[in-house]
């Protein structure tokens, strides 16, 4: 087992307002290995996004520690970029910039607009089929293309860990299936470590190596399920046909619905896709 790239120890967080205190996270601890694809599922409003914001360093935890392992190949030049890439729910491409200028936004902010990086941006646009749209405005692209552009924007900063906060939930179902498999392939081929927050159980099973189930608020880790699908290595779409898929789905469904106090239907629920 390789060393963990990210380690969370006993993270607690609560929101404060004049009306009082709301516990969001209670004693969250887990580790993520390099190259691992971790999915976090849980009932809505349980603090999944808060957890990602804490990992990304946007808000400090109230207690607990976060450790990042420094990669051996780390060079000083890389330090000026954030080590964590964060993909938000919406693409948030700016309508006043072309796709190319949107994609290089992160480089612009980190003062890394070197010719090599610009070259890399164009390469990525080519790889992900957006090259001929590089001078278009975001409004002229489909939802899936915009989400891919947003991914390129994140990847150009070369983050060690990618955080994905329900990045497909704003897309319609069909686009969602194809974009999620696209993005999964991109992440796998670049061997990035990724943490995906989602409420879609099938998405979690088909994309991730491991699934963390959070309880409802205040969120704690309810269970940690490693996923082993026999046709892994194929596309996430194909992995939905793996024989183990149904079992994982039922297990997750049970964990989540226990949490919501909903009775599991007596008839075995088919994961009809």
């Amino acid at each position: 087992m390789t060393n963990p790239i990210l380690e969370l120890n006993d993270i607690c967080y609560s929101y404060h307002s004049p009306k009082g205190e709301t516990d969001a996270l209670s004693h969250i601890s887990f580790r993520v290995k390099k190259g691992e694809f971790l999915a976090i599922v849980g009932p809505s409003g349980c603090g999944k996004s808060t957890l990602l914001s804490i990992i990304a360093g946007l808000i400090p935890p109230e207690s607990g520690e976060i450790h990042f392992a420094s990669a051996p190949e780390e060079n000083p030049e890389k330090r000026c970029c954030p080590r964590i890439g964060y993909m938000l729910q919406h693409d948030h491409l700016f309508e006043w910039r072309t796709i190319y200028r949107n994609v290089i936004l992160g480089l612009e902010i980190n003062r890394q607009l070197t010719p090599e990086k610009k070259e890399r941006a164009l390469e990525l646009l080519k790889d992900y089929g957006l090259y001929k749209f590089k001078d278009k405005k975001p409004g002229e692209l489909s939802g899936g293309m915009k989400q891919r552009a947003a991914l390129i924007r994140t990847l150009l900063l070369d983050p060690d860990i990618l955080l994905l906060d329900e990045p497909f939930s704003a897309l319609d179902y069909q686009t969602r299936l194809s974009v999620s498999s696209d993005i999964c392939n991109i992440i796998r081929s670049t061997k990035k470590t990724a943490i995906l927050v989602t409420h879609d159980l099938s998405e979690a099973i088909s994309l991730a190596d491991r699934i963390l189930v959070l309880s409802k608020r205040p969120a704690r880790i309810k269970c940690d399920i490693p996923i082993h699908l026999t046709i892994s290595g194929n596309s996430p779409l194909a992995s939905r046909n793996a024989p183990e898929y149904q079992g994982y789905f039922n297990q997750l469904w049970k964990e989540i619905s226990d949490e919501n106090y909903i009775q599991l239907p007596q008839i075995a629920r088919p994961a009809s896709e």
Partner: protein
């Protein structure tokens, strides 16, 4: 619209639905412009006719021919150029200063929410205060010169402008600002990359309001403390019962107001086209 003329090249052919639509649009557009001119011409004709027939007293109400004559005399003796020039200069100067001060203050308020919370009641009071009440103070403090008039122009537009711009800055999507932070950006990056470009429509509409208000302030200032300018001509003309001069000056003001507004409009069109 251009396709209309192309389609005329083959006269035998019936119009396609798209061409019919474009043709209808063109006719509608021409009708609107024609009626606008007709209303103006009708108004002038009625005015001239009633003055000529003695239905209204031309000494008090003037008439289009007298206005044109007065305008011509003003051009000949140069009063048109000096007075219009000075009013334009004052208006443009106050407009630019309002823009500059407004942007700087709104930026400062955006940067520091503490600051904006502290200053909010002051801004509200100053914004709702009738600024003409301040004009006598400006005269005492600054004398009767171009400075007083420019300050009067600024005072009318500035507070509304700050509130408006600040509100516009605040309405920028929080998630877009969060995106900048996830990319490792600072608050300054968030302002330059998101808030400012995202607020350009607000800034442009604010400029349209400001140019009108600056003109209002300048005319108020000239009423009270000027030796030159269109506002001075209006007050002077009414005092010596030269109402031709008063109405001519008002007409010139109409044209100035429209021209200034159109300039901002052109800027807006340019921006929208670029987008």
């Amino acid at each position: 619209m251009k396709t209309i003329y192309n389609s005329r090249k083959s006269p035998g052919q019936p119009l396609s639905n798209q061409e019919k639509y474009e043709y209808a649009q063109l006719r509608h557009h021409r009708l609107v412009i024609a009626v606008r001119f007709l209303i103006f011409a009708f108004f002038l004709a009625v005015w001239e006719f009633s003055a000529h027939m003695g239905y209204i007293d031309a000494f008090f109400f003037s008439s289009p021919s007298r206005v044109v004559l007065c305008f011509w005399n003003m051009v000949k003796d140069g009063t048109f150029f000096t007075n219009t020039g000075i009013t334009l200069l004052e208006t443009v100067a106050s407009f630019l200063l309002v823009f500059l001060i407004g942007m700087l203050s709104a930026t400062l308020l955006w940067y520091s929410s503490k600051c904006s919370e502290i200053l909010e009641p002051y801004l509200v009071v100053l914004n709702s205060l009738p600024k003409s009440a301040l004009a006598p103070l400006f005269i005492v403090w600054l004398g009767t010169g171009i400075n007083t008039i420019i300050v009067a122009g600024i005072s009318v537009a500035i507070f509304g402008s700050i509130i408006n711009l600040y509100t516009g800055f605040r309405q920028v999507d929080e998630e877009k600002i969060k995106l900048i932070y996830t990319l490792g950006g600072s608050k300054r990056n968030a302002f330059i990359k998101v808030v400012l470009p995202g607020s350009i429509p607000t800034i442009l509409s604010n400029m349209k309001v400001n140019i009108g208000l600056a003109l209002v302030g300048v005319i108020i200032g000239e009423f009270l403390a000027a030796r030159r300018g269109l506002g001075y001509l209006i007050i002077y003309g009414s005092q010596v019962f030269q109402l031709n001069m008063v109405i001519t000056s008002i007409m010139i003001l109409c044209v100035i107001a429209m021209a200034l507004y159109q300039m901002i409009q052109a800027l807006e069109h340019y921006y929208l086209k670029k987008l």
